[in-house]
């Protein structure tokens, strides 16, 4: 039968095994009643107001205390899902959270499907499509900056922007339509030149949004940094130092080539994928082209290259110049290492560090952040495109608008211009859910992981 909204669902809302506190979320018409049956506090939750927090204990079926908890009550419609909801904050021990979930399941609460909380929020009109997608990003995002970008979208900045563009488009379309349906009328028709200018304005806005995608992408997917340099300059040492300093080690991925090692770290909220490459010897007569080749892959794929040299040795100009052919200079950070051995540099550097003592590394981090995010081009106030789906739709819309401009330039009749405008308009509508297809929904709801 129909999707049942009557079910009460639960899931752990915080990443498993991370952090001192775990949050378990329960949502559905019976959520308060169900939690009441395993919770003992000063007051029955049923008799408590929305948006209040209660201290108490959770008991298992066999009447054992599972944990001391804090319970937050959110009554409909003022909850994330728009339904009655409860959040149980417990100690971050996987065993405890599992026991509480089990207790709920025994009380006929169902385990949520991936994305089900957000699906309900969407179904209850708590967010539009773009916002729902942003939530998917929140869940997938691993660091502060990431969260920040996603939240910003959540607030509907992108939606608002797209809505505006769509309205502008509808305006241009009506100018075109006017002349098609009312040619007999005694009205002053707007010149196509004016319509063209309007469309070009919209194109410019879309291009602006498209540009923001690389930022949005870094926010979401992180920035790829390759460590490159001659043998023994201290690349691996830097990697190790960074790993030690960044507390959230997410994974350890073996390098794609035998020699490249990749680690994911989080630094000051920026998500970084580090690629440590094998040192490359680049002697005058004995050019080890092969060495360059081995690391080329990593360099080519990188957003930023850290070129490291040893202050006690030479800079390695030839190698540097070879790398410069692959990646623009403003994406290369030159780093002088081992300054604990002396600060008499053979070559100037963007950063001077010691991978042994850690000196200069905070400055290096700042530099990395600045180069990857750009200097404040995108503030919290700008709409940023961070989803590939949005990016592709915007690109298509832009193509349609280009085609409309071309039609105007080729002096084609209005109805041909109108087709492109209508297409573009529908595309923009797809981002904010003004045109809805199953595909979009399926895609979004399958992207969610349990708990949000």
């Amino acid at each position: 039968m129909l999707y049942s909204h009557e079910d009460t669902i639960t899931a752990i809302a915080t990443p498993i095994g991370v952090g001192a506190i775990s949050v378990i979320r329960v949502s559905g018409s019976q959520s308060i009643e169900k939690v009441d049956s395993i919770f003992r506090g000063k007051k029955k939750l049923e008799d408590s107001k929305s948006h209040t927090i209660h201290y108490g204990r959770i008991y298992s079926q066999s009447n054992e205390v599972i944990d001391d908890v804090l319970i937050s009550i959110f009554k409909k419609p003022n909850s994330y899902t728009g339904e009655d909801s409860i959040e149980i904050s417990t100690h971050g021990n996987p065993l405890i959270t599992q026991k509480i979930i089990d207790a709920l399941l025994e009380n006929n609460v169902r385990l949520a499907e991936p994305g089900e909380f957000t699906k309900r929020a969407f179904l209850n009109g708590r967010m539009d499509l773009a916002q729902a997608e942003a939530v998917a990003d929140v869940i997938n995002s691993r660091t502060e900056v990431s969260l920040h970008g996603a939240r910003n979208q959540l607030d509907g900045l992108l939606s608002k922007k797209i809505d505006l563009l769509r309205e502008m488009l509808i305006h241009s379309s009506s100018l075109i339509e006017l002349e098609l349906d009312f040619a007999e009328e005694d009205i002053q028709f707007v010149s196509l030149k004016e319509v063209k200018e309007e469309i070009e304005d919209i194109i410019a806005e879309i291009e602006e949004l498209l540009k923001s995608y690389s930022f949005g992408k870094i926010v979401r997917d992180g920035v790829k940094v390759a460590l490159v340099g001659q043998p023994n300059v201290g690349k691996s040492s830097l990697l190790n130092y960074m790993l030690k300093e960044s507390r959230a080690i997410v994974s350890h991925i073996p390098g794609t080539t035998r020699d490249v090692i990749s680690e994911e770290i989080s630094v000051e909220g920026l998500f970084i994928k580090l690629f440590d490459t094998a040192g490359i010897r680049f002697a005058e007569d004995d050019i080890e082209k092969e060495g360059v080749e081995r690391s080329r892959q990593a360099i080519e794929n990188a957003d930023i290259v850290i070129y490291m040299f040893d202050v006690t040795s030479d800079f390695g100009l030839e190698l540097y110049e070879e790398i410069e052919k692959t990646i623009p200079e403003d994406r290369i950070i030159t780093v002088a290492n081992k300054i604990d051995l002396g600060k008499d540099l053979s070559h100037s550097a963007d950063a001077e560090i010691s991978a042994l003592t850690g000196e200069g590394i905070p400055e290096l981090f700042s530099l990395l952040k600045e180069i990857s995010l750009g200097s404040n081009i995108y503030t919290e106030k700008s709409a940023v495109v961070s989803s590939l789906r949005h990016y592709n739709i915007l690109k298509k819309a832009k193509e349609n608008l280009f085609s409309a401009v071309k039609s105007i330039e080729n002096k084609l009749s209005g109805e041909f211009i109108a087709v492109d405008l209508r297409n573009a308009e529908n595309l923009l509508g797809e981002i904010i859910g003004k045109v809805s297809t199953d595909d979009i929904l399926n895609n979004i709801f399958s992207k969610f992981c349990i708990g949000k």
Binding site: G82, E177, D181, A418, V419
Partner: protein, 628 residues
Amino acid sequence: MVNMLNYDVIVIGAGHAGIEAAIASARMGCSVALITMEKKAIGRMSCNPAIGGSAKGHIVHEIDALGGIMGLIADRTGIQFRTLNKSKGPSVWAGRCQSDRKLYSEEAGEVVFGTQNLDVIEDSVNEAFEENKKIVGVKTEKGKEINCKALIVASGTFLNGVMYTGTDPKIGGRFGERAAIGLTKSFLDMGFVADRLKTGTPPRLKKNSIDFSVLEEQPGDENPQPFSHRTDIKNFPVLPQVSCHLTYTDEHVHKILEKGFDRSPMFKGLITGVGPRYCPSIEDKIVRFADKPRHQLFLEPEGLDSDLIYLNGFSSSLPEEIQFEAVRAIQGLENIEMARPGYAVEYDYFPPYQVDLTLETKLIKGLYFAGQINGTSGYEEAAGQGLVAGINATLKIQGREEFVLKRSEAYIGVLIDDLVGKSTDEPYRMFTSRAEHRLILRQDNAERRLVKFGYDFGLVSKELYNEFKKSEELMIQGIDFASNLRISPKNINGFLASQNSSVIGNGETISKLVKRPELKLKNILETLDKSRFPLVEPLLNNEELLQKLEIELKYEGYIKRQYELVEKMEKLENTKIPLNYDYHNLNTISVEAREKLAKVQPRSIGQASRISGVSPADISILTVYLKN
């Protein structure tokens, strides 16, 4: 009962909707009674003596392709033919003609009286009867009770019609004609909801009192094109052709009109019905566009023998003496004699969410509404609905599958889908921009889109259909030929140079070449060796086909893209919503949307998505519900 009569189908009203309905149904084999107040008024044009125009011309072509009669009658009685928008692309080319009002009605009458299985009864229907939510018959003013299996109501502006010239209301459906009283109540008792709409008409002027010498003339096309495929192009146009004339109001005229505002039934609130925004009265225009110094007026002849001129653009319900004084202040009309003033008419309509896409009412089986009663305005919109209602009433009686045109198939499809889903609250007129698939809904391909239906229903003759099939075959061969044959540079470059078109280096297909704006298909074909390519001769000899072929080739890319869009949409159209779906429990959908959905009972997600007041978010939610 004394006067007990039985028919398969009863049609109320011999207006543009009613005659299409009655004729189609009779031709398809039903016994039909067409009950109308005045036999003399069959197919009467209430307002403008013109057929067609932007988007309306398209509908006439569609009616013709389906086997309706409007195009044929218009061709026989037209006194000026023009194709509008000729400077724009082919999808907005639209035929329009000035008609001889008297001849149009006579010709329509002749077709009606000449139709077998069709009885015309001069009477007024006062009451309709249902049993168990099924229509069973009607009772007339003269006391006749007539039984039927289906009832098609095409009563136009006559239901509780009230006419206004100044603040004096007069009961009537049209100048000199009575209103229909009683029928509305009959439907209200069955549970229908009625509302009021308003429309208006301008004054008629005496032709010989106009000074045409100072007015701008607007003649018809030099090479007039008929609406109907059944019209013999060799003997077309049938009647002598005449011109229209143009004049303008000015600020002085507006001043005079303003003097009458205190006696305007509109401004005084006597008329509550909503009027058409796209066809406002002159007093409306002055108020709403106060900074516009002048308004364009067309002087349209009412007929060859008629001494009346229709003052298009000057619809008014102001007092007669104000209208008269104002008209006399217009250039060329200084010595005018006004045969009769303009008036507004307010009438009942049944908000069309109450009908289904077949035009059958949702509430009472066997009951159909068509034309102005559904809130449309215009002869063509009425006729298109009449045809669809007549066909569907018959199909149902005969136990055959219903007939619903898609939005991608016909303007008539767009029209009915809009009516049902958006349930207009102002008079609805068709525009090309209402059709999201405009590029493929053209006049030139109306026959290709629709003739198969007309033939299936028996409304299009075998000869005509065979003729179509022959030309279709040629068309397909033509497309094939143009897309495959490569013309070598040496054979074409001379011609290209002569047309100021850039020469080619490698062989190129005709299809590619004809996409150049400066080249015509005809001229390209003429460069070919007729003995080598036997297809060239028959193509060149068929001017109509040649034009259709050129359109298909020139705009191929655009047309293809449009079809891709249609396909994408089809997915939504094919996501069906179960009959009598209960929306009231979907408390996640906004209350407004739930009400609208319950009212309209859309058949598919596609249809649901077009209902005003139903947001895309509502649709997404509905989709999720249907999926689960």
